[in-house]
């Protein structure tokens, strides 16, 4: 038995299993060996090896009997450790919740299980999702498989690494200010932030209620579409859930981008980014234009201010959720998160509400821009993976900036407006580190984002590249 089977994409494995050409047991066994081989990345907090193998054996028996639970039957999926699994500890990357054992599955877990997926384990993350590097004092700093001396982005860093290293077929992250898209970009995988309200947050430890959403991560747009089809849908147990029809998101993936209008936001989309990032995004745009898309210039006049609004909201809301623990167990937080929570308590209600009013303004202007374009484009973040432990980054040489603000430069627009966005691999910098391109869509039009990402992947091979750590582990 070899570990080659983990090289199959999520949809590839699902098809092989459905056709009886791949055993769920063989796939799970190889996945568990891969998890062990990349354990030095600290991608996982917990692995349910025995349970996952039991389910894999049951999946195999069912397939042999001609019964398939759903489109993800037998496929190993990882969950960020702020997503509840019945009977399994959900730490949210913290010490505070070290003993938190939920008595019910999160809504998204119920959907995955219903589709036949097998939960293989819980992935590491920035503590309570409040940070963009996945440096974690309680469960180990997550390392980037393209260069283990660098950070993988966050807060869903473990999910990004697990997907990139083939230590699962797909994973769930959560995205408040960019926490699915950032690790997707920095690990060379594909990640979707759905329209706010599209996927249930029930059973997920919150960061900032007004911006939180679960999102799927996988190697290809087709894989993300398969996961998203299972995840999307109304949930009466989530007050923020929206009752809108969903579609089979894999259906139109091959339709191409002929006629697609890609909006380039003036003074924003390609402004203040590292040269290698700019070049990769421009090259990817050329590929899409070559496939029939066209670029159009659009404006969002009040785009400046989005980082401040995001910091204010993303600071105030978690500080509300954590108010009691911050008084009773302050020493149990990591230094960075404790500081952010303390600072968030001291922002004024008027600052918070003006930031929330700014969201309404930004949404109006983004919606207006999307009347002239089908999607908007920008990098996912303006730089490639930085060394572990760095708190500042140089986008312009000689001008170091605060990491937290800099990392939100492009992900804030969808987070604040509730619009869907996808990060898709679009190149590498001179050090071989992945670069991600972000496409932002109209509300509930994830299908167009997935189609554009699939078109880019049909013409490029960045999503197929293998991190050096995987080559070493194979």
């Amino acid at each position: 038995m070899t570990d080659d089977v983990v090289e199959n994409t999520l949809t590839g494995s699902a098809e092989l299993i459905a056709g009886g050409a791949l055993s769920p047991v063989e796939l799970m066994d190889a996945t568990l060996r891969r998890i062990e081989a990349i354990s030095g990345t600290h991608a996982y907090i917990s692995v349910s090896a025995e349970q996952a193998m039991d389910v894999a054996r049951a999946s195999e028996t069912m397939i042999a009997a001609g019964h398939r639970l759903g489109p993800l039957h037998g496929v190993p999926i990882a969950l960020k450790d702020n997503i509840d699994v019945r009977g399994e500890i959900t730490t949210a990357g913290s010490k505070i919740l070290a003993d938190h054992r939920p008595d019910a599955d999160a809504a998204v877990v119920r959907r995955l299980r219903g589709a036949g997926a097998i939960i293989v384990g819980k992935t590491n993350m920035h503590e309570f999702a409040w940070g963009g590097t996945s440096a974690n004092p309680h469960h180990g700093n997550v390392c980037n498989p393209w260069d283990t001396s660098r950070m993988p982005g966050g807060s869903s860093g473990g999910s990004g690494v697990a997907v990139a290293t083939r230590a699962c077929a797909g994973a769930l992250g959560t995205d408040t200010g960019g926490s699915v898209r950032l690790p997707a970009a920095l690990n060379g995988v594909t990640g979707l932030r759905p329209t706010i309200g599209r996927v249930s947050n029930a059973g997920v430890v919150p960061l900032a209620w007004s911006m939180d959403t679960v999102g799927p991560m996988a190697r290809t747009a087709a894989d993300v579409a398969a996961l998203f089809t299972v995840l999307a849908g109304f949930d009466p147990d989530d007050a923020g859930s929206v009752d809108r029809g969903t579609v089979e998101y894999s259906r139109d993936l091959d339709r191409g981008v002929d006629g697609l209008r890609i909006g380039v936001i003036e003074d924003y989309s390609l402004h203040h980014v590292q040269p290698a990032v700019e070049k990769s995004v421009r090259d990817a745009l050329e590929v899409l234009v070559g496939a029939g898309a066209r670029t159009v210039d659009v404006t969002i006049p009040d785009i400046e201010g989005n980082i401040s609004a995001q910091l204010t909201i993303e600071a105030a809301e978690p500080s509300t959720y954590h108010q009691r623990w911050l008084r009773e167990r302050p020493q149990d937080y990591g230094d960075d998160v404790r500081l952010l929570l303390e600072a968030g308590e001291l922002l004024l209600a008027t600052q918070y509400l003006q930031a929330q009013r700014y969201r309404a303004l930004l949404r109006e202007q983004a919606t207006a821009a999307l009347a002239h374009a089908d999607v908007l484009v920008c990098p996912t973040l303006p730089f490639a993976a930085t060394p572990l432990g760095e708190t500042r980054v140089e986008i312009t040489p000689g001008a170091p900036e605060d990491m937290l603000s800099a990392i939100m430069q492009f992900t804030g627009l969808p987070s604040l407006t509730g619009l869907p966005a996808i990060s898709v691999p679009c190149g590498f910098d001179a050090d071989g580190l992945p670069v991600g391109m972000q496409l932002i869509g109209r509300p509930f039009d994830e299908a167009t984002l997935l189609r554009a990402a699939a078109a880019l992947q049909a013409h490029t091979g960045f999503h197929r590249a293998v991190p050096p750590l995987v080559t070493a582990a194979s």
Partner: protein, 79 residues
């Protein structure tokens, strides 16, 4: 309202942070107050600048994104 004698941020110091923490009922020792002050010194000027922009007369109708949205009434459910 921005006071004429400040830069829009107000003096974010360990002392003012400690005072605000007292109002919030948040215990902060001197060292932590200084660390929080350093962080808020970077955030507050921008937050106040955004607040000032949002005071524009033309933006008065904007409501914060925190208001409840009610689902559409089901057909025939209105009386």
């Amino acid at each position: 309202m921005t006071r004429p004698d400040d830069d829009g941020a107000g003096p974010v110091t360990a002392g003012t942070v400690a005072a605000a923490a007292t109002l919030a009922g948040l215990p902060l020792d001197e060292g932590r107050a200084a660390a929080v002050a350093a962080l808020l010194s970077a955030w507050v000027p921008d937050a106040n600048a955004l607040s000032a922009r949002m005071q524009a007369e033309s933006l008065r109708p904007l409501m914060p994104a925190t208001v409840f949205g009610q689902p559409p009434a089901a057909e025939g459910s209105e009386t």
